[in-house]
């Protein structure tokens, strides 16, 4: 039998909207996956020149190093306000915020809620990893009941610290939002769906349909003290029940735009 010769076709490669830079994320942290997905969407939509990112304070504080687009760095929690200011002054640019759960749910609750209520025409990518990664793994509003963190050393006590806030549900309940979904990054299938959602969220903005948020369940192997594969598993087994995946709001205008 003669040796076969093969033609190589690229099935998958690094998106060009990512800079050729090593990220600052820990090995196996799915912040990196989220970044890649956003970059893929920017590539596919061809909007690199018109996109402005708003980085949070959190592990993604250096997000601007990793995307090949104009960026600003918001104060902790205030990314939606900053994005509002940008979008109102440049209505034809794509503006997205990238925020963690401490940033978006805790300190930034007022800003995200009101950006949603105003129906700001922006895209919010919300990384829910059930703790404050950057500061070393403290309890977040999204920390699971009983979950041990450095500021809930005996596990989150719902009597004293309350229950997790389900942000996609909360934001979806606000009139004036157009597209609010929750996806997860714990395996390839879910990652593919997350990508679709991010694409939709940007398409919503392109058509001027208003506020879109994609909540992404994400791992924090370092502070969860798990290997990256175990962290994927932990997410699946522990976070999915508390944070059900799904489409929480798809405005009629989004449906009828067929995106």
């Amino acid at each position: 039998m003669t040796e076969l010769q093969y033609k190589e076709t690229v099935v998958f490669e690094r998106p060009t909207a990512l800079t050729p830079t090593q990220t600052t994320y820990c090995p196996g942290c799915t912040h990196g996956v989220a970044h890649r997905l956003i970059a893929e969407v920017i590539d596919e939509m061809g909007i690199r020149d018109d996109t402005i990112g708003v980085a949070p304070v959190g592990c993604a504080v250096f997000a601007y190093r990793f995307f090949d687009v104009d960026f600003v760095e918001a104060a902790h929690g205030r990314a939606p306000a900053m994005a509002t200011g940008i979008k109102r002054s440049l209505p034809d640019r794509f503006v997205f915020t990238y925020q963690g759960d401490g940033d978006l749910v805790s300190i930034g609750m007022a800003e995200i809620t009101h950006a949603a209520a105003r129906g700001e025409n922006i895209t919010v990518i919300f990384i829910n990893n059930a703790n404050y990664g950057m500061t070393g793994g403290q309890m977040a509003p999204t920390t699971l009941p009983g979950q041990k963190t450095t500021s809930s050393p005996t596990g989150r006590d719902v009597e004293l610290a309350g229950y997790p806030i389900q942000m996609a549900e909360l934001i979806a309940s606000i009139q004036g939002t157009s597209y609010v979904v929750r996806r997860s990054l714990h395996d390839a299938r879910n990652i593919r769906q997350a990508k679709k959602a991010i694409r939709t969220a940007f398409e919503v903005q392109k058509r001027g349909l208003g506020f879109a948020m994609v909540e992404l369940l994400s791992t924090c192997p370092t502070n969860w003290h798990l290997t990256p594969p175990d962290a994927m598993n932990w997410l699946k087994e522990n976070m999915l029940p508390v944070y059900p995946l799904g489409d929480y709001k798809i405005h009629d205008a989004v449906k009828s735009a067929g995106i």
């Binding site: 003669t2 076969l4 010769q5 093969y6 033609k7 190589e8 076709t9 690229v10 099935v11 998958f12 490669e13 690094r14 998106p15 990512l18 050729p20 090593q22 990220t23 994320y25 820990c26 090995p27 196996g28 942290c29 799915t30 912040h31 990196g32 996956v33 970044h35 890649r36 970059a39 395996d187 390839a188 990652i191 593919r192 192997p221 290997t227 990256p228 594969p229 994927m232």
Partner: protein, 79 residues
């Protein structure tokens, strides 16, 4: 018969998190046991044939380190 494929891992980005290793349906990836990259990690590599170009590894790779190729037999060669 599944497609034939291959992956190339860019050492510069790889952090040896092992996610690609854990998800590859054909188990053709490993963390290079001997090699270290500039950051001191043992980068992932395809260590045997059998890749089906499913891109599952690339999909989970947080560092966008993997390029996936589909290999299609070049008909002319055979003729």
């Amino acid at each position: 018969m599944p497609a034939k494929g291959k992956i190339v891992v860019n050492d510069f980005y790889c952090k040896a998190c092992g996610l690609c290793v854990s998800v590859c349906p054909t188990q053709v990836i490993q963390l290079a046991p001997e090699r270290l990259n500039v950051r001191g990690y043992h980068p992932a590599e395809q260590f045997q044939d059998g890749c089906i170009a499913c891109a599952t590894c690339a999909m989970v790779c947080p560092d966008a380190a993997i390029t996936v190729y589909r290999l299609t037999p070049v008909a002319e060669q055979e003729a």
